[in-house]
């Protein structure tokens, strides 16, 4: 057990730290950067990504051949930690965190050549098109159909809650290629061009201000060579995807704490700095403990990816669950501190803490749900991690019938 970093790793951290400090503008406000509806900010995010791509940071974990730096998971963790410290996100995040790694893991050489380098260069935007109206937590119930037709598949169906505020180049789509029992054995992963004829979009606004999409597939024709990995093995590949998605959760660092402590030192209440208020002190201590736990859980995840033999299977991964479980409460603690001022949005001359706090709560209401809500994560950890029993799906219809009868 050791929690230190090598000299090279510290050097890398410093290098990335300095990179962000240099390229981010003095007046950078991370709370605002990801909001849609403002093209100059969109452009800023793309420009920032471009500068990072020159360094290779966004795709650092990939082999050099495909535009990466061949970083270890610890080195990737350092990139992720610094991104978290400076509160930046890549517009092409879905490609970097999901589509790239999965293509590299299960794709053919041709697919790797075709899909991966443009993602590495930040030239394409990918959407992860998995969730459907009737396949949310029950991902395996995916009903969007892909029917073979000569050298193509024809796709019909609907996806919903697909994150992304930019025009997608690729829809990384989970589709049903066979009706099977159990249902998860008939699914495949298909790369669908975002502008393929028959694809249409509708927008779902969320309270936190981020963009969600509904996507409709109406006789969309895609060549069979766009199917990633094995046919009907999509669910297994997708589970691996979630693993990458979980792995992509940033390793938390100190910055949020520094900002909060700074605020509590400067802001006064009843003539005394907030930090002298016993309630505020308790809140700060709790926030610091939470941060330590999140920081460690992030690194634990990073280590586990390379030390599976020693640290156990990934199914029992707490990182994402812990983070999601704590998010609403953390936001609420901050709101309690600001009281009635928590309502004010950024821009109001009365706003405290840049008006960022209420939105943190709004965001929590959405952020905690992608890649498994806390409720479904608990079930996954209980069943797969702890081996607690569950009712097999094949009995669910019988239970449902019995319920109908008893009514």
């Amino acid at each position: 057990m050791e929690f230190g970093f090598t000299e090279e790793q510290e050097k890398l951290r410093k290098e990335i730290h300095d990179f962000f400090q240099e390229v981010l503008p003095e007046d950078y406000n991370p709370a605002a950067v990801r909001r849609a509806g403002d093209e100059s900010r969109e452009q800023f995010a793309l420009d920032l990504q471009k500068k990072a791509v020159e360094k290779g940071y966004p795709s650092a974990g990939w082999p050099k051949k495909y535009g990466g730096l061949g970083f270890t998971s610890i080195e990737q963790g350092i990139v992720s930690e610094q991104m978290n410290y400076w509160q930046v996100a890549w517009p092409g995040a879905m490609g970097y965190n999901l589509v790239g790694p999965v293509t590299l893991a299960v794709g053919t050489d041709e697919q790797k050549e075709r899909f991966v380098p443009p993602i590495a260069r930040g030239e394409v935007i990918c959407f992860e098109a998995f969730t459907e109206p009737n396949a949310g937590s029950d991902e395996a119930n995916c009903q969007l159909r892909a029917v073979p037709d000569g050298d193509d598949y024809i796709l019909n169906g609907q996806k919903t809650f697909i994150s992304g505020s930019r025009k997608p180049d690729w829809l990384y789509t989970l589709a049903r290629t066979e009706d099977t029992i159990p249902v998860h054995r008939g699914l495949s992963l298909i790369m669908v061009p975002g502008d393929a004829p028959g694809v249409s979009y509708a927008v779902l606004p969320t309270m936190g201000g981020s963009m969600q999409n509904e996507i409709f597939y109406d006789n969309v024709r895609v060549p069979k060579t766009n199917l990633l990995g094995e046919v009907n093995r999509g669910f297994y590949h997708a589970m691996a995807t979630f693993e990458f998605e979980r792995a992509a959760v940033g390793v938390d660092a100190r910055r949020g704490m520094e900002r909060l402590v700074d605020f509590c030192r400067k802001e006064k209440r009843n003539g005394k700095p907030l930090i002298e208020d016993p309630e505020v002190r308790k809140m700060l201590a709790r926030a610091a403990m939470q941060r330590q736990v999140m920081w460690l859980s992030g690194w634990y995840g990073a280590c586990r990816r390379t030390q599976r033999d020693k640290l156990g299977p990934q199914s029992y991964d707490l990182t994402m669950f812990l983070r999601k479980d704590a998010a609403p409460e953390q936001a609420e603690d901050l709101m309690d501190m600001l009281g009635i001022y928590a309502q004010l949005k950024p821009g109001s001359k009365y706003a405290k803490y840049d008006g960022a706090i209420q939105r943190q709560q709004w965001e929590a209401s959405r952020v905690i749900h992608p890649a498994g809500s806390p409720e479904i994560l608990k079930v996954v950890i209980a069943n797969r991690g702890l081996g607690l029993p569950r009712i097999p799906r094949k009995f669910n219809s019988q239970i449902n019938e019995a319920l109908e009868e008893s009514r």
Binding site: M1, Q21, E258, W299, L318, G347, A382, G387
Partner: protein, 420 residues
Amino acid sequence: MDFSLSEEQEMLKTMARDFLETECPEAVIRDTLRSDKGYSPELWGKIAELGWMGISFPEKYGGTEQSIIDLAVLYEEMGRGLFASPHLSTVVLGGETILAAGSEAQKDELLPKIVNGELILSAAITEPQSSWDGKAWEPEGVTVPAVAAGDDYVIDGVKLFVHDAHVADHILCAARTGNGGKAADGITLFLVDAKSPGITCNILDTVSGSNKQSEVIFDKVKVPKKNIIGELNGGWAPLARSMQIGAVMLCAEMVGAGQKVLELTVDYAKTRIQFDMPIGINQHVQAHCVYLVGNVDTSRWVTYLAAWKLSENMDCDLDVSIAKAWTSEAYERACWLAHQVFAGVGSTEALGLMPLYTRMGNSDQYYLGDPSQHMEVIVRELEKLPPQEKPKGKPLGLWEPGGEKLPAWDIWKEYYERNR
């Protein structure tokens, strides 16, 4: 960055677990807790033979010179096995302090005896009034005076919540020898023979039962000057360091106990049948188990981070306090969650060890600083944080106040249609 135990640490863990499962089964645990001494002298001798007292001491005193992390691995197993002994008082609070501050003669005389299991120590630090005032384990809390008189010092006052004083050969007493200046600067450590005239030890009736704590009355007790450990008026620093190690060991104990509580609970959820099904099929029960894992695993991480920093001699006030505050609360939550799953069965000592695990937490969470005290330390450390670092790039004016747009439907729609 490496979260796995080394091969030697895995061996130590297995050895300790096997030993305690064989030598200290349920019946022995119960007998020990009911006994007057509160520990088993027979097992004390055996663990000395196994080298458990010498893990952190140099070879020249008979130790094996392993790290604080190894010690934590051992404490995890002692917690798991509900092993009651004066190890923390003797080896950590006593031994580590003597190692850090004692003279060569004191070290040569005392440490080998500690390693051999011949000597039991107890640390008398906290006092009635100052503990009530929230100053336990703080230098301000040490008020019992020691006054010089010829070749001796005379200690006069009451120490409270003193672990293992009733069986100790020597009591390491923190007493006030100087006033003025900083509170920490007037404290001296005395190694007091427990049989000195004037010492009365009254065992306290506490709920935990997993250890024995006493009120120790020092009625004008004479201690020879040569029994001072460390510098006159300079006792606090070495003691504080031992208390930090001790706090992390208590965390490790709770981690090990928590792990066992988790295993017992999940096992019960899988085997207890109600409504013709194992209760663990219910998602409410599953959620309790998942939160239990969360509490135990997070505690393990914060504990070993603190242990690592201690073993590397790094600045670790923040990490030790985070470990102690977090783990104490997490262990309490973990036991509570277990009780939810066990329901009534978990509250009876006749049907299992669950109540004993819960009671262990009732003592560990307060000893060497309760969560609120450590949270106060955390904030004191946070206050030292530098101001937030600022980016240095040219300002772009994209985030001027007022530039924020409402996430109203029409703006979304307009943007959206323009981009599709």
